[in-house]
């Protein structure tokens, strides 16, 4: 006990509450976490704890992924999945943006739509699959509709909440400078919310990805999810895992893309994030 205290005293600040971490520390710690994870996986898979066919090591998953692209035209599946997410998300955002903007800016609009939109969020999108199958068939329309339903109500609520948080003083300043209602809505309320809207899109896109796999597991012939189901039938665990890894990589890339977009579009928001 005594020894522990003496050692920890000068070093105790290392994990103090809210203490910022330097870039180097962040890279080292992040890399270490991955190395430990992959090492443990590799060890567990090669130590004969389970049959290797059911639990392949990361190296095998990686080569399966490579093989998928080289010999099974996996890129077509990836593109099909990306297309579904892109179309459905664009539609959902285009629907949610005006609704959320008006709900956030005008309480009277929110009072009308909120009782409708709020309960919708609690209806699980996958529960609509049988309905969508009957109405729209097993094609792309049904999948896009499912992805749309999966995110649209959350988008409306998140956008409305964010728009509502625009400071009243900014709106009143614009009004006393002679701005019309339209100018305040577009030039101040929307403009002030914009960085937050990009963040909301980035986060909800991750949710859209989770629904994608559900959509593609049901009656799909192409897409990453369909490939995973195909591989499962032949007990190709390495390919199933390669599919999951691919989803992770795509999600990460999209996340990075949106962060880059945020950085490029909103130079004024950079200083704030740089401050500790």
């Amino acid at each position: 006990m005594y020894i522990w205290r003496r050692q920890s005293k000068p070093r105790a600040v290392r994990i103090a509450f809210q203490r910022p971490v330097s870039v180097t520390q962040r890279v080292v710690l992040g890399t270490a976490a991955w190395l430990i994870f992959l090492g443990a996986w590799q060890y567990a898979a090669t130590a004969d704890l389970a049959p290797q066919r059911l639990f392949p090591p990361p190296t095998q998953v990686l080569s399966a992924l490579e093989n998928l692209f080289r010999e099974q035209a996996f890129h077509a599946d990836v593109l099909a999945s990306l297309r579904r997410v892109a179309i459905s998300f664009a539609l959902a955002f285009a629907f949610a943006l005006p609704l959320g903007l008006f709900m956030g800016a005008f309480p009277v609009v929110a009072a009308f739509f909120n009782p409708l939109v709020s309960p919708f969020r609690y209806l699980p999108a996958p529960a609509f699959i049988p309905l969508l199958l009957m109405w729209l068939g097993a094609g792309d329309t049904q999948k896009i509709a499912l992805l749309f339903l999966g995110v649209v109500w959350f988008l409306v609520t998140l956008i409305a909440d964010h728009v509502r948080s625009v400071r009243m003083e900014l709106i009143e300043t614009a009004l006393t400078l002679g701005a019309s209602t339209r100018q305040v809505l577009g030039g101040v309320v929307f403009r002030a919310s914009l960085p937050g809207l990009v963040d909301i899109a980035r986060q909800m896109l991750a949710v859209s990805w989770t629904y994608l796999i559900i959509a593609e597991i049901v009656a799909a012939t192409d897409g990453v999810g369909a490939m995973i189901m195909r591989a499962r039938r032949f007990v190709r665990v390495d390919e199933v895992m390669a599919g999951i890894v691919m989803i992770g990589i795509l999600g990460l890339l999209l996340d990075l893309l949106f962060r880059l977009l945020h950085w490029k579009l909103f130079p004024y928001a950079r200083q704030r994030s740089r401050k500790p």
Binding site: T176, L177, G178, V188, R191, A192, Y268
Partner: protein, 278 residues
């Protein structure tokens, strides 16, 4: 709309507050409405600096917001340059206590915002923006974003933005309240300098007695519960004399008398309020 040519020049920049009251509906059903301001009358001539002074909760900010058109008027009538106030408009520019620079616009874009939305020609616009950027001393920071500026600088941007829009009257709600004393003092002198040069009518809310005497041509002192105009104080010593600087102001014998008079009223209001709540 708010062009100086569109009305008689004799009324331009004149503020008339005539027997104005403000009533808020009761919070619950059946509760009587709450009277926040009771029959306040106050006038300002063009180029005059009016100060609304009083303890917190006396309704001085409410009155300012009514002039801005941001609060409805329950009774009475407010006119600026002869036109009745019915809502916010560019003829009444406002500076708030909190920072209101648009974070997505640079300093010069902020200052030019009013002219841009009122579709003023780009050439004339940049001339006006340059003039006011120079007046507030932020020329070197014209391309900076507000986030990079200090609090005093951001408040200067807000003042320049309001003035560049060429209002008939400038309204300021405790504009220096969030600033440290040294910056505050600099800002008071800066604003006085600009406002006098432009012959701008100004109505300002403050609870700082020294600031009120230093800046105000007409000081309206309010009591609270409900807000009433107790007294209009016009500093007897001349404006030129007063506005040399703070040290010169305090050296004037009448200054001390006026300050202690206002301070006594402020104290009386304070003790009255504590009796009411007790």
């Amino acid at each position: 709309m708010a062009h100086p040519e569109s009305h008689t020049s004799s009324e331009f920049g004149e503020l008339r507050i005539g027997a104005v009251s403000k009533r808020y509906p009761g919070a619950n059903r059946g509760e009587p409405p709450r009277l926040a301001l009771e029959s306040v009358s106050f006038d300002l001539q063009r180029g005059a600096m009016g100060v609304l002074l009083g303890p917190s909760g006396c309704g001085k900010s409410t009155l300012l917001r009514m002039v801005a058109g941001l609060e409805s008027i329950s009774e009475g009538r407010i006119t600026v340059s002869g036109r009745e106030v019915t809502g916010p408009g560019r003829d009444r520019g406002m500076v708030f206590q909190t920072y209101t620079s648009f974070p997505w616009l640079t300093v010069e874009e902020n200052v030019g915002y009013g002219l841009r939305i009122n579709s003023s020609a780009a050439g004339r616009r940049s001339g006006v923006v340059d003039y006011f950027l120079d007046r507030i001393g932020l020329m070197p920071f014209r391309k900076a974003y507000p986030e990079q500026l200090s609090g005093g600088m951001r408040q200067r941007v807000a003042i320049a933005r309001a003035l560049a829009n060429q209002p008939d009257i400038l309204l300021m709600d405790e504009p220096f309240g969030a600033l440290d004393p040294e910056t505050r003092w600099q800002m008071q002198e800066l604003v006085l300098g600009i406002v006098h040069k432009e012959r701008m009518t100004v109505l300002m809310v403050t609870h700082d007695i020294e600031e009120a005497i230093f800046m105000g041509d007409r000081i309206a002192f309010f009591s609270r519960g409900p807000g009433r105009l107790l007294e209009i104080i016009e500093p007897t010593f001349g404006a030129d004399e007063r506005r040399l600087d703070k040290a010169a102001l305090k050296a004037i014998p009448d200054y001390g008398e006026m300050e202690s008079h206002i301070l006594q009223m402020m104290r009386a209001e304070g003790s009255r309020a504590s009796e009411q709540t007790a």
